[in-house]
């Protein structure tokens, strides 16, 4: 019962916060983007290497750039009020279709990378905490330091050189073999092979963060009174570590992981570019370079929603992990 009320409160609060936050982000983004020099017509002309006054005017009209700024903003907000993200003149299709085409790829990549990072990170952190100061801790510390200090795209490139070029085990680009018409298990295995390297590259940095966080908070928890009580009760050491130490140590880890969801989308821009992954990060980057503002605003709106939803989930997760925590 208490849990149910808790969920309701959290949902209500999030909803109240979300609307003005999203609106603020949209208006701010819209105005900031207009500060960038050049517009979509300039991009198309520079790609074409040729233009005439008439073709520029035609493009600006097509992109709606011939209208005053305020009208453009009002149009966008008006569409948004009807849950319509507008139309991308560059891609010649509705922004929502464009985003939905890419969203599954990005979510798959982000969730896999985050899950990998959490599983490996927490496991490494637990081992390090359990053997604190002894050789497993020392060796893993070095590994973690390496992951922490190497940029993800470099890890990705090196992984490509090793696994794709030298060994030829894994593909280097895309999210599936195109035109192969695979079905069933072959198709799943094909997708997993394409997913392995980018997920590793995107997640490697976060493995290090979670491992260190887990280690530190587990050591912190070890000194608490309830740990001594658990030991005094004669519980198995493994049970103490998992149920008492790890569960309490997970609160800071999940808090940070929630914030990382936003970061991951940023990191995904680089990873998706290196691996030719057809995701939202690349769409956002291409939209910036192309000055395709309606697409970019759509992606930004979606990522702000994603961050809000992630925070909501983390709030609920905290409630389960430690019922004493009040909703923020």
């Amino acid at each position: 019962m208490r849990m149910g009320r808790r969920v309701a409160t959290t949902l209500r609060r999030t909803a109240i916060h979300a609307v003005p936050t999203v609106l603020g982000i949209i208006v701010l983004d819209f105005l900031l983007l207009r500060l960038m020099p050049g517009d979509a017509a300039d991009v198309i002309a520079s790609e074409s290497g040729v233009a005439t006054a008439e073709s520029m005017a035609m493009l600006r009209q097509h992109f709606g750039l011939d209208q005053p700024l305020l009208t453009q903003l009002m149009n966008f907000l008006g569409h948004l009020a009807q849950f319509n993200l507008g139309f991308s003149p560059r891609y010649n299709m509705p922004v929502v279709d464009l985003i939905l085409q890419r969203l599954p790829s990005t979510l798959l990549l982000m969730v896999t990378a985050l899950a990998l990072a959490l599983i490996i990170g927490i496991a490494m952190g637990s081992v390090m905490a359990a053997w604190a100061g002894r050789w497993p801790d020392r060796i893993l510390s070095i590994v973690v330091l390496l992951f922490y200090s190497m940029p993800g795209f470099w890890v990705g490139l090196m992984a490509i050189v090793l696994f794709s070029v030298k060994l030829g085990w894994l593909p280097s680009d895309g999210d599936m073999t195109i035109g192969a018409d695979l079905g069933g298990w072959a198709s799943i295995s094909d997708r997993l092979q394409h997913l392995a390297l980018p997920a590793l590259a995107l997640g490697s940095f976060f493995v290090a963060v979670y491992a260190r966080l887990t280690r530190a908070s587990m050591l912190e928890v070890q000194r608490q009174d309830f740990m001594r009580t658990a030991q005094a009760k004669g519980l198995h050491p493994l049970l103490i570590q998992l149920r008492h130490a790890l569960r309490n140590a997970l609160v800071p880890v999940t808090t940070v992981a929630g914030m990382h969801l936003g970061n991951l989308l940023g990191g995904a821009v680089v990873t998706e570019t290196v691996f030719g992954w057809p995701g939202l990060g690349r769409l956002a980057l291409e939209a910036v370079l192309a000055r395709d503002f309606s697409t970019l605003l759509g992606v930004l709106l979606l990522s702000s929603l994603l961050v809000i939803v992630a925070n909501l989930l983390i709030d609920l997760l905290h409630a389960w992990l430690d019922p004493r925590i009040e909703p923020a």
Binding site: P37, V50, M58, S105
Partner: protein, 533 residues
């Protein structure tokens, strides 16, 4: 090791091995084409549309012709060959072009291709195509006396027109799909229907475009492959790797970093070719803003010209993949290029003297003046070239700050805001100087807000007269003389300093054959391409 690189050398080697093989010579040279297979074609950016009708962006040119064909194709010397038109003739006054169309050609939706489509397409190009507005400006009417004859009537001769009819430059689009619609947002741009050897199958944005063999193509022997996959790999390193691990079959306009070429050339399964790049030569140049307080002085421009070692630039910045060029008309356009070297050879002493005379003596820190250089970011070598120019000009006391921007910001700064002093820029010559070169020097094309117009703000009535004359001159010899005189004048007055013409390589896996048989190479319909099993 450039064994794979120069076509002449390659031909010689093939010949030698054929001689060694004795009687199998003919077999070794022209192996019988095989059928089937999937060709994976990679490029840098994803196209924004699949028909080159309202844009001439390179990624669009790459894909367009596979589905939407043109009236003609061209051999390496830009001599026309039949494609959708089987015969053509030009009246002696150069004002009437008659095309006989190929019979029994059908669009992918089953509708026949007729002269009505030709007439409609040319009108469309004249109104919405970025270059078509100029190329077809003199077209008054396209007559269609019968379904297989199209007659283009011009108000004035347009000697470049017959070279402008490739699939990518002048696509023949289906009238029944475009009529009465907005051509820019017509859905045909996303899922094209044409007469081409490949049918559009799917476009997964950000991933790939898939084409499949058109079984009803007008040439029953073609095409040979089953599928063509177009992939955009935005990362330079990823493109090198794709060739290395054989996941990419072909890419053009040197799809990898120049610094990677040496390494890739060691791989026995890759071929590097220059065939099929003669339809569009580029010239990279250092372009001055003649309204700049420094570069409005001819002596300052001359001094800059005296300080640049083009050979060294090509050798270092371009890793040798370029041809030194003194004229805005590329050496590749042999018909028009004036190969005379610049009147301002490498001479630092002379440069210093000119700057002193112009009233810019060396001051504090031995600097005469400080000036920003903007570069067009489209090329792989742009930043390196700008740094090379900075180092060169430092020697004569000009301190250069290299300024970076993305392409949109660059275009706005140069052509709309005109807030620049000089720029490292590049222009495509295309197939004819009237189409590709005139725009940069013609005073009437100084238009604020129009990218790649007359960016220097150059004005010379003599040059205007020569360019306007050459645009309507029917006699090839007279036309050439006009362009040569034009080149002499701009070489003297240097509104810009042409530096080099980049050499574009097509990189392919050696299992790919017959990919670049025309002047526009892989930008053509690639109907004859085939793969080893």
């Amino acid at each position: 090791m450039t064994a794979n690189f120069r076509p002449t050398r390659r031909a010689t080697l093939a010949g030698l091995s054929a001689i060694a093989l004795g009687g199998r010579r003919s077999l070794a040279q022209t192996p019988a084409p095989k059928k089937g297979g999937t060709l994976t074609f990679i490029q840098n950016i994803e196209p924004q549309t699949l028909v080159a009708l309202t844009t001439t962006a390179t990624p669009v040119l790459t894909v367009s012709a596979k589905v939407t064909e043109g009236l003609l194709e061209y051999d390496y010397d830009i001599k026309p060959k039949p494609l959708l038109a089987t015969e053509w003739s030009i009246s002696p006054d150069g004002k009437t072009y008659t095309f006989k169309l190929r019979p029994n050609v059908k669009f992918h939706d089953g509708k026949p291709f007729t002269s009505a489509d030709v007439a409609y397409s040319i009108q469309l190009l004249k109104t919405v195509h970025p270059r078509g507005r100029n190329t077809f400006a003199n077209v008054t009417e396209v007559k269609t006396p019968d379904p297989l004859t199209a007659v283009i009537e011009l108000s004035k001769p347009a000697p470049y027109l017959i070279k402008a009819l490739t699939a990518a430059e002048a696509p023949m689009t289906p009238r029944h799909i475009y009529e009465g619609t907005d051509p820019v947002s017509n859905p045909n741009g996303n899922a094209p229907i044409g007469t081409g050897p490949y049918r559009f199958k799917e476009w997964v944005r950000g991933s790939h475009i898939l084409y499949e063999r058109n079984p009803d193509y007008w040439d029953p022997d073609l095409p040979r492959i089953d599928q063509m996959v177009m992939k955009a790999l935005p990362d330079t390193g990823a493109r090198s790797i794709a060739f290395e691990n054989k996941s990419a079959d072909i890419g053009y306009r040197t799809p990898v970093a120049l610094s990677d070429l040496d390494r890739l050339k060691k791989l026995p399964y890759l071929v590097f070719e220059t065939d099929g790049t003669s339809y569009s030569y580029n010239v990279s140049c250092l372009q001055f803003n003649l309204d700049s307080q420094y570069f409005k002085h001819l002596k300052v421009r001359q001094a800059v010209a005296h300080a640049i070692d083009r050979e060294l630039l090509v050798k270092t910045v371009c890793y040798g993949y370029g041809t030194v060029c003194y004229s805005p008309i590329a050496p590749g356009l042999k018909e028009f290029n004036d190969p005379t070297p610049s009147p301002y050879p490498l001479d630092f002493k002379k440069a210093e003297q000119l700057l002193d005379e112009a009233g810019f003596p060396r001051g504090k820190d031995k600097v005469r003046f400080r000036v920003p250089l903007d570069y067009n970011p489209i090329g792989d070598e742009s930043l390196r070239a700008s740094e090379f120019l900075r180092a060169s000009l430092r020697r004569i006391g000009i301190a250069v700050d290299v300024r970076s921007a993305d392409s949109s910001a660059f275009v706005k700064r140069i052509y709309t805001d005109r807030a620049f002093d000089f720029t490292y820029n590049g222009h495509s010559n295309l197939f004819d100087p009237t189409v590709g070169v005139q725009r940069i020097y013609w005073s009437k094309n100084f238009k604020k807000g129009v990218p790649f117009s007359n960016g220097s703000h150059y004005e010379n009535p003599k040059v205007d007269a020569l360019l306007e004359g050459a645009a309507v001159e029917n006699d090839p010899a007279k036309r050439k003389a006009m362009f040569v005189e034009f080149q002499k004048i701009v070489a003297q007055e240097i509104p810009d300093i042409p530096l080099f013409s980049p050499l574009f390589l097509t990189i392919k896996n050696k299992r790919v054959h017959d990919d670049s048989l025309t002047a526009d190479g892989v930008e053509a319909n690639m109907s004859r391409v085939w793969l080893d099993a």
